[in-house]
């Protein structure tokens, strides 16, 4: 259907070749002329200069030629870009939520994933949302980038050509773990994709749901808590969940240090008002309140899950 990993690659790459080609020609040409002049009109070889004040004809020539060239470059660049803004109606919609410092992809049937699964050779439209600051969704292999701006509904689209895994970066600086806000685009064959999609939305059957904390674990993964809090004791932006429940920690409250025990009430407060008590050794203001995003029931489930990660060591 087209060469390259997405429907835009060949157009964008031709624009690159056109612009860089002309630029290289001028860079090499002008440099060569300058070196030749320095050699030829060196004061040793050419002791008396000629006082040439200028040439209107030359000025006109070297104004008009660059003007024509840059207008051609403009046209090539716009021509390759314009289709990126015309989103086909039949495109499969994926809702993208960017949040410090993770990506979340929600499909039309409600399935949520942290990797962007898409079928090959099918148009996919991404609806971009940010819950905190500006991020930018960048897939180098597809030559695509669009900022994800809080408070604005934006979108982008593509057709992936080849089955494979590609990098997806955040390209707009978004704070502490900006360089870790990356995931993958997995392009799979359409039937494989349909099978994957049908396996969701992820709901737990009754037996699995009976395991304490199973529901909470799902919430933690889908709400990107794990971008900053690990479950294995590693220190990231926030404290690890491992072994934290029932543990005594020193927190800073309104500039004063005090010791508290991590209990239901403390976890709930940390979710809804994260800057109230900040554990000593961690930066204040890194986390936003999840008020409105998580229900009381959700929070209860999260607490259940944290309890399963071990009590006081």
């Amino acid at each position: 259907m087209f060469t390259g990993n997405s429907n835009f690659v060949s157009g964008v790459d031709s624009a690159f070749v056109f612009i860089i080609g002309i630029s290289t020609f001028f860079l090499v040409g002008i440099t060569a002329v300058i070196i030749y002049f320095i050699y030829k009109y060196n004061s040793k070889r050419h002791p008396v200069a000629e006082e040439i004040e200028g040439s209107t004809r030359l000025e006109i020539i070297w104004t008009i030629i660059p003007t024509i060239l840059v207008i051609m470059m403009f046209y090539v660049g716009w021509h390759a870009y314009a289709p990126e803004r015309i989103i086909p109606k039949e495109a499969m919609k994926v809702k993208v939520t960017a949040q410090e410092w993770s990506w979340r992809f929600q499909y039309e049937n409600g399935k949520i994933a942290d990797t962007l699964y898409v079928p090959a050779n099918k148009s996919v439209a991404l609806e971009l949302n940010s819950v905190d600051v500006i991020h930018s969704l960048y897939i180098p292999a597809f030559r695509l980038k669009e900022d994800v701006v809080p408070g604005r509904e934006k979108s982008m689209w593509f057709i992936a050509a080849n089955v494979g895994t590609y990098d997806l970066f955040c390209a707009e600086y978004c704070g502490l773990r900006h360089s870790y806000m990356l995931t993958a685009v997995k392009v799979v064959a359409p039937d494989q994709f349909n099978a994957w999609l049908a396996a969701g939305p992820v709901k737990l059957d009754s037996a699995a749901a009976a395991v304490p904390g199973a529901q909470g674990k799902l919430i933690i993964q889908s709400k990107a808590c794990i971008a900053c809090h690990t479950m294995d004791g590693t220190k990231l932006v926030g404290p690890s969940f491992k072994g934290i429940y029932g543990h005594k920690v020193i927190v800073e409250t309104n500039g004063k240090e005090r010791e508290i025990t991590v209990d239901d009430e403390y976890i709930k407060r940390s979710i809804l008002d994260p800057t109230a008590d900040v554990v000593k050794g961690y930066l204040k203001g890194q986390m936003v309140s999840y008020k409105g995003q998580l229900s009381d029931e959700d929070i209860k489930q999260i607490i259940e899950y944290i309890k399963t990660l071990g009590a006081e060591k």
Binding site: F26, H46, M73, V133, Y138
Partner: protein
């Protein structure tokens, strides 16, 4: 030609005014002393910024943590940007060489408002101190990048308010300097010096001064809005309160893109002077170069949107800004063509300032031509916010304005201090700088095209090799810079020479003694010919 002027006046360095020592400098309203105050403070900030850059490159020598945590890295690239941009290159050649040579080149005794000029330097130092206070107090140095993009800059806990206020104060220094220069150029030219008899450095300074005066207030107001958002919770830029973060980007770039021309225009002016002097002939295409300076200053106002092709502007805005961006390339190209043509049938004197100017043209061409990639929407979308932009920016601002700063320093050094540096060491230093510069920044173009985003503390393994080359380049560049600056510092200790016109320059500064006397001219010269015309004595 040289050394035949009798020095019967004390130079501005020797002149004893009402105060002695340090006070004689920081209370002097002599434009030349103020120029040196700027020069020394700018060079100090340049070296501070360079050390930060070296540490950043060291962190990036391999994936994962090397010498610092991500919070430190984010603060470091913010401080590197703030120091280099607001404290070194925005004052740039205008504050130091502009202050020193603008009055001399138009045959004036000083600028129009000498006290305002000194006050501008106080504002510069005051603003710089506030920025420094912002870095070392509160909950840590700002980690927003020098762009202070909202809403991140509204949410971060670091010391944004103080730093932004420092930048606000610095803006006043820039506005007042611009105003001073505009009035000086209009009112203080020597008799007979019409606009088209002004040296081309003055034309460049004239364009620059208008940008300083008209564009800087926009960013000043924007910074005040950020402070109001943070302190009073107004929400101009906060989407949670109905504000618009894209508005911030518009306001920021309406100033900050023209600011690039504040940096580069005086650089282009100095390069024009250098090439003409060392070609020993009249400049080629005087009017074309003069008009291109004004064209750059004017069109440069209208291209800010190319920083925002992915931000969410309308489709119309995207193509209009792309087209305008391409138009600003034309006057820059005209300058390069006229510089090359000035070499034609000249009698080229291969001295260190000339080599610096040639190094400038080469890296500036790479910077300018890669700018075309960023002006075209399709290609910009791929490399926007990647290492490609970092490379392009450093080729223009460091390779362009920065190298021109050192070219100007080598060109005017004998005039400013009445002493000559070791030319061989200077050439060696330049060669090392040139190799280091390209090794440091060229790999970033490729990294960007490969897809490595900028402002990354850590990166994927596929980017390792080019990052390592780049880091090695930073060591070479620093070595070159140390050679260059040590050479100039050593020259200051040497005995003064009678070198009033060591390069055979034709403009007015070469007709007075080195270093110049307090009021530059014993008698205000009467101008009856173009600035570069050959006049038989």
């Amino acid at each position: 030609m040289t050394g035949n002027i009798i020095h019967h006046q004390p130079s501005y360095l020797e002149y004893q005014g009402r105060y002695k020592g340090l006070l004689g400098w920081i209370l002097s309203t002599d434009h030349k002393r103020i120029a040196l105050l700027y020069l020394y403070s700018q060079l100090a900030f340049f070296f501070a910024g360079m050390i930060m850059g070296v540490f950043m490159r060291l962190e990036l020598i391999a994936p994962g943590r090397q010498i610092m945590d991500p919070a430190t890295y984010n603060a470091l690239f913010t401080m590197h940007g703030l120091t280099m941009i607001f404290l070194f290159i925005i004052p740039g050649l205008a504050a130091s060489f502009g202050n020193f040579f603008l009055p001399i080149l138009i045959g004036a005794k000083d600028v129009a408002f000498p006290k305002l000029n000194l006050f501008s330097w106080y504002l510069f130092v005051g603003g710089a101190l506030i920025v420094l206070i912002g870095m070392f107090t509160g909950d840590g140095p700002p980690d927003t990048g020098w762009t202070f993009y909202a809403p991140y800059s509204l949410r971060t806990n670091t010391n944004v308010v103080v730093t932004v206020f420092g930048a606000f104060v610095l803006g006043f220094s820039s506005v007042l300097t611009g105003l001073n220069f505009i009035v000086t150029i209009h009112r203080m030219r020597a008799p007979g010096m019409g606009f088209f008899r002004m040296p081309l450095f003055i034309w460049a300074m004239y364009g620059t001064a208008w940008i300083q005066l008209l564009a800087t207030p926009v960013v000043g107001i924007t910074f005040i809005m950020v402070i109001a958002d943070r302190l009073l919770g107004i929400g101009f830029f906060d989407p949670a309160k109905g504000g618009d973060p894209i508005l911030y980007q518009h306001l920021f770039w309406i100033y900050s893109h023209p600011a690039v021309y504040i940096m580069i225009l005086p650089a282009m002016g100095a390069i024009t002077e250098i090439i003409t002097t060392f070609s020993n002939r009249v400049v080629f295409g005087y009017k074309a170069i003069a008009m291109s300076s004004l064209a750059i200053a004017f069109v440069g106002y209208l291209v800010w949107g190319h920083h925002m092709f992915t931000s969410g502007m309308s489709e119309t805005a995207r193509w209009v800004f792309s087209l305008l961006t391409f138009l600003v390339a034309i006057p820059s190209a005209i300058k390069v063509f006229n510089w090359s043509a000035t070499l034609y049938k000249g009698s080229i004197n291969l001295q260190p300032p000339f080599w610096w100017a040639m190094a400038f043209i080469f890296v500036f061409m790479i910077g300018g031509l890669t700018g075309l990639v960023l002006g075209s929407v399709a290609t910009d979308v791929h490399v926007h916010d990647t290492m490609f932009v970092v490379a392009h920016f450093h080729y223009i601002v460091f390779g362009g304005a920065g190298l021109a700063f050192f070219a100007a320093l080598h060109y005017w050094y004998p005039k400013m201090f009445g002493k000559m540096y070791n030319k061989r060491v200077s050439n060696i230093g330049l060669l090392v700088v040139f190799i280091g510069f390209n090794t440091l920044y060229f790999p970033m173009f490729i990294l960007g095209i490969m897809g490595m985003p900028r402002r990354y503390y850590d990166y994927l393994p596929e980017f390792t090799f080019l990052n390592q080359i780049s880091t090695v380049g930073s060591w070479i560049l620093v070595t070159g810079m140390i050679i260059v600056v040590t050479n100039l510092l050593r020259a200051k200790k040497m005995a003064p020479e009678f070198i009033d016109n060591p390069w055979g320059g034709r403009t007015l500064e070469w007709k007075i003694q080195s270093p110049p006397p307090l009021e530059n001219f014993e008698e205000i010269p009467v101008i009856d010919h173009g600035p570069y015309d050959l006049v038989k004595d």
